[in-house]
Symmetry: C2
Subunit: 153 residues, 2 copies
DNA sequence: ATCAGATGTTTCGATATCGAAATAAGATTC
DNA sequence: GAATCTTATTTCGATATCGAAACATCTGAT
């Protein structure tokens, strides 16, 4: 498409889906050697940056169904990379934290991941990054708001 | 984050993943009543806009494994929404086309989909859309190139 | 104090996805 | 013409996901 052609909303959605698919494929390939899938990796990444979180907090953050989160934490526990703990006050709650082993692994992986991302996006100026960031934020908020208040269980 | 803070590559990836997840959730919800999943919908959308395509062309376009494409076309054939045909020259090739019934359905769905997308993105100016479009194109190309030439089978 | 509604997580069964291998067919090299 | 390599699609078995329901627990109203 040319400089003069308008970018339709439909076209933007297609390009968003394609960019995400390509990025997800790249991330998956780069962590495959560690035996982690994309979801497991993103769980560990969230725990690395935000500290221990409840199952529901992680689900919401990653837009996964609660049943999927149960499975993902099962996998991470089985690999002794994360562990569930009880909440001091609310007995329904399970809080998830990285183990020492998990922290060590995700720190190493994340370092390479971050470097790879920097490399991937070196062609975008700071102005371009900000524009994409803001636009995606708007799109994400709008989509979330338009999706019938009912998130995945 | 503030106006002054830089947008890191890592941050941009997270926001991209989140925006995609929200958009995908919205699309899935809006087509659920028609008994279609996201992949099936996107296959039909591709066939609507590009005419009959080979299994491999659709797979590459939607970034799905060829086995997934086999299943998706099986589902669409079972619902008599699409059909495989043989290629005149290359007997390995199966070309997929919408049926009359499928075309009628996807035209109706797509009309609503397009209107919904316009609504979702009405807060983005044309300049903003172009910036997001260009940025996502760059990111998608870079990720594709960086993923070891080996696409999903 | 009791009850109804909401919340958090797990379980269950179903579905969509994938990698690898198998099969058929086309292209290229010798 | 034969052999080898590549391509297109399907099959197989495994995995990750999901919606709905079940269960336990908490909150708020009465």
């Amino acid at each position: 498409m040319t400089e003069q052609t308008n970018v339709t909303a439909a076209r933007l959605w297609i390009v968003l889906a394609k960019a995400y698919g390509s990025m997800a494929g790249w991330v998956e390939e780069s962590i495959a050697a560690e035996g982690l899938g994309l979801s497991d990796f993103m769980v560990m990444e969230a725990l690395l940056h935000k500290g221990p979180l409840t199952m529901t907090e992680i689900s919401r953050k990653l837009l996964l169904a609660n049943a999927s989160m149960t499975s993902a934490i099962d996998r991470l526990e089985r690999k002794t990379l994360a562990a569930r703990t009880f909440d001091g006050e609310d007995r329904r709650i399970r809080r998830v934290a990285l183990t020492a082993r998990g922290r060590k692994l995700i720190e190493a992986i994340y370092k390479r991941h971050e470097q790879g991302l920097n490399d991937l996006m070196k062609d975008l100026s700071e102005t371009e990054r900000k524009a994409v960031y803001r636009g995606l934020k708007k799109i994400g908020f709008a989509a979330k708001a338009a999706t019938g208040g009912k998130e995945k269980q």
